[in-house]
Amino acid sequence: MNKIYLWGIIVAVTMLTITYMSVIGSKGGLNGDIVNMFAIGGAVALVVIIVFVIIKFVRQMQVDTADGELSDDNWDGIGEYYNAIPKGWAIMYLATMVYAMWYFVIGYPVNSYSQIGEYNEDVAAHNKKFEKKYASITGERLVDMGESVFLAECKVCHGLAADGIDGSAADLNVRLEFRTVKDVVINGSNNFLLGSENPMPDRYGLMNANKDYAPITDAEIDAVSTYVANGMSGEGGDVFAGACSVCHGDDGAGMVYVAPNIAAYDITLVTNVLNHGKKGSIGAMPAFDRLNAKQKEAVSAYIISLSKGE
């Protein structure tokens, strides 16, 4: 046996012994840990491979003789054989070319990071989750959602108690306040409350049918405003029946495509105000069309629950 194999075995055994003594044989050892086992297995494999690879090449230097066809080029007596390129290299070279083409044409353009792309994915994922979790909620949960949207978006003007903060916004605990009704009767309105342009005439367009279609008078305006602000009760009912009920209905519940509900809040009304905003005697309300349909429904439910005194 060649001396070099002996040396190889001696070196390998020494290294493995040192490894054993410093790790496995010492206190604690491998500790039954799978990661430690892998590490030590890798160390052992490395020792064996290194030793025998070195032996292989050293032996090759010792015994190998050159053969093959020399190329014509000669540099100061040093020649070169004709050698085929190793197969592995050739395959890797071609694979790299293919990968580079793929990366240039598809890989980078399709997969590159974009902040806006990430944002769009976030929004899509959120909308999907929202749809799954909340699309079918009703009743109490819908009102709760409405309250949280209200607290985020509406309370800055309408106030925590939805009372309109001393008249700077509409008091949502009642359907209509006296001053609002009076202003609308005198000046008319056009607030897209039905989703489309359905202007209500000003006072000169309002006739009292009970008094031979005479234009509505100041006293009648006060009376009917009190009546509507009182929740369709008290005095002034006859004026309402004469001048208003033809569009708003006998009970003030409104008519589809004709006039909005002025007796109570309903989903269509609140949704339309959120979609189009509003401008009236109190001031302007901006549109909140960035809320999604369910959130608008929820806000409606919350406002309806408020005006019922719940």
Binding site: Q115, E153, I165
Partner: protein
């Protein structure tokens, strides 16, 4: 020449610097010019809005309020569409803000109204319970400096070709013209005209009277600026 450069480190460094600067110039400047071009629908500030912007800067509003909506769901839910660079084309200087002690104001004109600002600026805590924003009562007394705003308009129209008195295409296909006066008197008249539109929605009788008599309190200018942020 290259051999000469290799023997002279100073000039070698200099030529490296020039080469890299030139590369930077042709790479960065065109894309920067593209990104800083105004979006369709972005208009320069009118006289009163610009005066309001000066009031905003003077009172350091930007120390607490940013004007930059980042593309995160949590931000776009609160403040609206994320900001795009072209929207700042006419902002000199931009007012991105140093930090958000208060909410972002990039699109405040979309969801707050004139009368809300009026009551809010007088006593923020009365409108938003727990608000730590101080009262800005002097805005209701100080008079707006329209002349400085006009001077700025003249300057940017001349040096940056800001399109005043020119048709600017809007998103819906129409054109909009932002007017700039030919003289200080005309600028004052234009600002007053804008102020009258704002005070029509305000409640404070003193402010209404002031505008009626030809004066513009700062609150009117800053509301005009707030309403223009969309």
């Amino acid at each position: 020449m290259f051999h000469w450069l290799e023997r002279n480190p100073f000039f070698f460094a200099l030529s490296v610097f020039i080469t890299i600067s030139f590369a930077g110039l042709i790479e960065i400047v065109p894309s920067f010019a593209q990104a800083s071009r105004p979006l369709v629908g972005t208009t320069p500030y009118s006289t009163l809005e610009l005066a309001g912007r000066h009031v905003y800067i003077k009172n350091s509003c930007n120390a607490c309020h940013s004007q930059l909506i980042r593309p995160f769901k949590s931000e776009t839910d609160r403040y609206g569409h994320y900001s795009m660079s072209g929207e700042y084309a006419y902002d000199r200087p931009f007012l991105w803000g140093s930090k958000r002690t208060g909410p972002d104001l990039m699109r405040v004109g979309n969801y707050r109204t004139t009368d809300w600002h009026e009551t809010h600026m007088k006593d923020p805590a009365a409108v938003v319970p727990g608000s730590i924003m101080p009262k800005y009562t002097w805005l209701y007394e100080n008079e707006t400096d329209v002349e400085t705003a006009y001077a700025e308009q003249l300057t940017i129209a001349q040096f940056f070709s800001t399109p005043y008195n020119k048709a600017i295409p809007m998103k819906d296909g129409t054109n909009k013209i932002i007017k700039m006066g030919d003289s200080i008197a005309e600028a004052n008249a234009l600002a007053l005209e804008e102020a009258k539109v704002i005070v029509a929605d305000m409640k404070d009788q003193n402010i209404k009277d002031a505008v009626e008599s030809g004066k513009i309190p700062e609150i009117v200018a800053i509301i005009a600026y707030m309403n223009s942020l969309k």
